[in-house]
Symmetry: C3
Subunit: 244 residues, 3 copies
């Protein structure tokens, strides 16, 4: 993909965000993309490829938001990054004039998405890539819920340190006193909510707000995933204790 990009746009600056997405795991990819996008400069072109449906009838998309452009398969992968964006412009990739001459049915990252991104970087307009597109595939994003004194979510991503990142957004906890929260993840209950990993002794399970802006389950100095047996989909419940 990088060779293709540099062949079309030699001045492109290419950044790898991650190669650690589990094969075919669209939620993993969507989460990693959404976590990275806010930190890239205006005008960045994000090419995302987690593409188990490659070569079938899923479309390819180019999407422009106020600050960035996205290129990738229409399988929900871009959905989380596009979530709070208003006024997005979406095109289906149908103009093969911006693809490689020969397109495989197993690697559109190289044959379609990379060359399209490189042409965009050279100034090709989004409109020329294909027709407008009003419907997109949606990510199966598990929405968290609030029930009185409980916040109910689940693990959506696991990082390289063994932290388990949930779908419970930081904004839900900002106004609550941290020591009034108790968290259950998997079969482990009563975990405290703290500010940083070393807030409690080595080996202690804890929860905090992670760097992507979601509640995260961690163990200071160890892997929460391994220690607590967590995985994508494990339920996480935050309980608010109000003692007066």
């Amino acid at each position: 993909m990088k060779g293709v990009i540099l062949g079309i746009c030699p001045s492109a600056i290419i950044v790898d965000v991650t190669h650690g997405i589990r094969p075919g795991n669209i939620l993993d990819g969507a989460f990693a993309l959404a976590a990275a996008v806010p930190y890239f400069p205006r005008g960045t072109i994000h090419v995302a490829v987690v593409d188990p449906g490659v070569g079938g009838d899923r479309a390819g998309l180019a999407v422009r938001t106020a600050g960035a452009v996205f290129v990738g398969p229409d399988n929900g992968l871009l959905d989380l990054a596009l979530r709070d964006q208003r006024r997005i412009q979406v095109r289906r990739l149908e103009n093969s004039g911006f693809w490689l001459d020969s397109v495989s049915r197993t690697f559109h990252g190289r044959d379609i998405f990379a060359p399209v991104a490189a042409h965009l970087a050279r100034g090709v307009s989004l409109n020329s890539l294909g027709p407008g597109c009003s419907r997109r595939e949606r990510l199966t994003w598990p929405e968290p819920e609030r029930w009185a004194d409980r916040y109910i979510g689940q693990v959506i991503a696991l990082d390289q340190f063994g932290n388990a990142i949930t779908n419970l957004p930081a904004a839900w906890f900002h106004k609550l006193p941290p020591d009034a929260l108790r968290v259950r993840a998997g079969r482990r209950g009563g975990m405290p909510f703290v500010s940083h990993y070393q807030a409690l002794p080595h080996g202690t399970p804890l929860t905090l707000i992670g760097s992507a802006g979601y509640l995260e389950v961690a163990v200071n100095g160890d892997s929460a995933v391994r220690r607590l047996g967590l995985r994508q989909g494990s339920p996480v419940v935050v309980r608010v204790i109000r003692e007066q």
Copy 2:
């Protein structure tokens, strides 16, 4: 290696192709290199280092083809990328004036190949690197065979998705009706030949033409390597069924 290159040629654009080659596996490296080379711009300098013989008497090489330059150990690693190239120019790396001042016997990638590549990128001529070289080490590349209605090959590379890539070239299958092919890989027989991974239901073993232009054994949504117990060298046989 990157620090060395940028110290000599600050304007170099450096691209990582892969760090996933298994230690000392020259065939893995040769395959990854050959798969990537056609997609890089004309004039790219490819530095390849899978070098179990470092520090012994194996030579280092610089090779110019019509469209690219290659730098690496003379151990067969470059052989697959050079396969269909006519009129190549080969030099043995003997002029230590283009190496680091101090050369270890354990990491020529950093001490010899990287600085040589950087000097080439700055315009140093191939001829100045050392004497011409007419013989090179050959890769132990297992040639596939055709026997009447059978095509006999083997697994040569495993990718990160658990697909098993064979040495059976796509060109052998272009004129055959896909549904007339049945494939055996390891102990699994009767696998169909399809166009893309999701052509069959999730979990189904199948074969198709992979993105490097070879027959590939895959399982939709799973690892063929793990599911079918395949590894480098596992036999793969394609049978043509001619019913009239």
Copy 3:
């Protein structure tokens, strides 16, 4: 981190040294950093993040040596790279004007170190980052010892090939005849000292001077770590045999 850097300093050339540091392993990181630094061009800004104490009271540092600048946590991570440097200038990162607007308590690499490095790359002076700092955290670096005819050290790093790198410096062995040395690592004794990996037959345990300038325990064509059961901290003893 790369997005942040490019947002502040679009002309920055960013190089990944390694993503293979084990979580929270400061010694691993310190060793990788010290091994890479001598090979980068003068003026390189090295951003190092192995940061288990993020969000607590450990300081952040920027350090200028004669040839480079370092940015990272004050936890010993920079110590090995700074070891033989005289006249270093050290600043505590306290001026939040060079940080991201919003600073998490879980990822200072992105929120503090990357933006500080990018501002330095744009020409901001070290002095403007915060007050001078005379004391730094020291790395727990196990010093090797010499006892008459024995050199006693330990394994400090494991590389991707399964080689076990020790803290015994190459300089201790330069004047000794290689065949007068016998090495014990873990429970394996009598290992010879050779010049390169293939100096002995495939599968043979051996020791040599590795590319970082330290004695290394290896097995030709295999993983010494796995074969000999070595890990960080395993004792390594070199004995000099003087027969006259």
